[in-house]
Symmetry: C2
Subunit: 184 residues, 2 copies
């Protein structure tokens, strides 16, 4: 157990280091400069996370240049761990409490797994959304009368977010279907 002990931040770091080897400082700059991810760029988060990844054998760092800069890159174990995380089955809990993490899992898929696994992921995501949404809508329909305006609107916001994700899976699946080739 506890094989999945990396945090979202840890996996985001693995994904970025898979793209290209970088230093902790590079990663911090990436988080603060690009609007892509909402992770902290604080040294107190990044550097300890990198050390943990290194201790677990997922990345390896070596000093470089004059400034005591340390460049990290993935090890084979890190790559297989990252793929394991990406391709593990999508649970209802993932959809209910962690949609952002699901999108993060998908964000780096092109570089690590094949078109087949991308599509498998998207369809599984879509399936879970289709199973979860009816219950949500039903709850809304039966309770909206007794809810104050702000509560009702907040619930609506949540439902619309799931519906947005559902439409997104449809577009994404079409994108991959129309793509030629693929594999890995």
């Amino acid at each position: 157990m506890k094989t999945d002990s990396n945090s979202n931040l840890g996996f985001a770091l693995l994904g970025l280091l898979w793209q290209s080897p970088r230093s902790g400082y590079d990663l911090r700059k990436f988080f603060s400069a690009t609007p892509m991810m909402s992770f902290s760029d604080s040294p107190g988060a990044i550097y300890p996370a990198l050390r943990r990844l290194e201790q677990r054998g997922f990345i390896r760092g070596q000093a470089e240049g004059a400034r005591r800069r340390k460049i990290f890159q993935l090890t084979p174990r890190g790559r297989s761990e990252f793929r394991r995380w990406q391709t593990q089955p999508i649970t209802r809990q993932d959809v209910v409490r962690n949609c952002d993490a699901l999108v993060l899992r998908f964000a780096f898929m092109d570089q690590s797994v094949g078109k087949r696994d991308c599509l498998r992921f998207l369809k599984s995501f879509q399936r879970e959304l289709l199973q979860y949404l009816p219950g949500l809508r039903e709850y809304f329909r039966t309770n909206r009368r007794h809810m104050p305006a702000s509560g009702r609107l907040a619930l609506q916001n949540g439902i619309e977010a799931y519906e947005g994700n559902l439409r997104w899976t449809e577009v994404a699946i079409r994108t991959y279907r129309n793509q030629k080739g693929g594999s890995s």
Copy 2:
């Protein structure tokens, strides 16, 4: 400093206890039974959180009935702390990294602040979204060519989520505008 030391869970508990006094067990059941919030229903999260709220003087609990059940309710300090949290200014950071927390802040507004503050919140949320989105779209436009399909789609997912929130603020603002009365 550190006046805002409550977590999202803490504030969610305050909001629910404002609705009606409950026990920790009731709150756990609420989290596991309703699809409204994605908080943990684990005792290891709820009970320590309740004790912290009590220590800080935001809630007060008293034993009830045979089963050693403890019913919590908000103190005046708890109510004012909750309102303070809800009405504090919306920052760009809130929008970038914590949209869920913003919706949570709004979810209980009807019971704690007036229509005026609800509208102020929604317009402020809308303003921040309108300021943030153009940069996101610009980043997407200039970088889409160099991004792998999965990365591009993940970014699109993020942008669409913000657009969904923006549309939601419009609907919500209209809802409150068309409401008669209000205040408190």
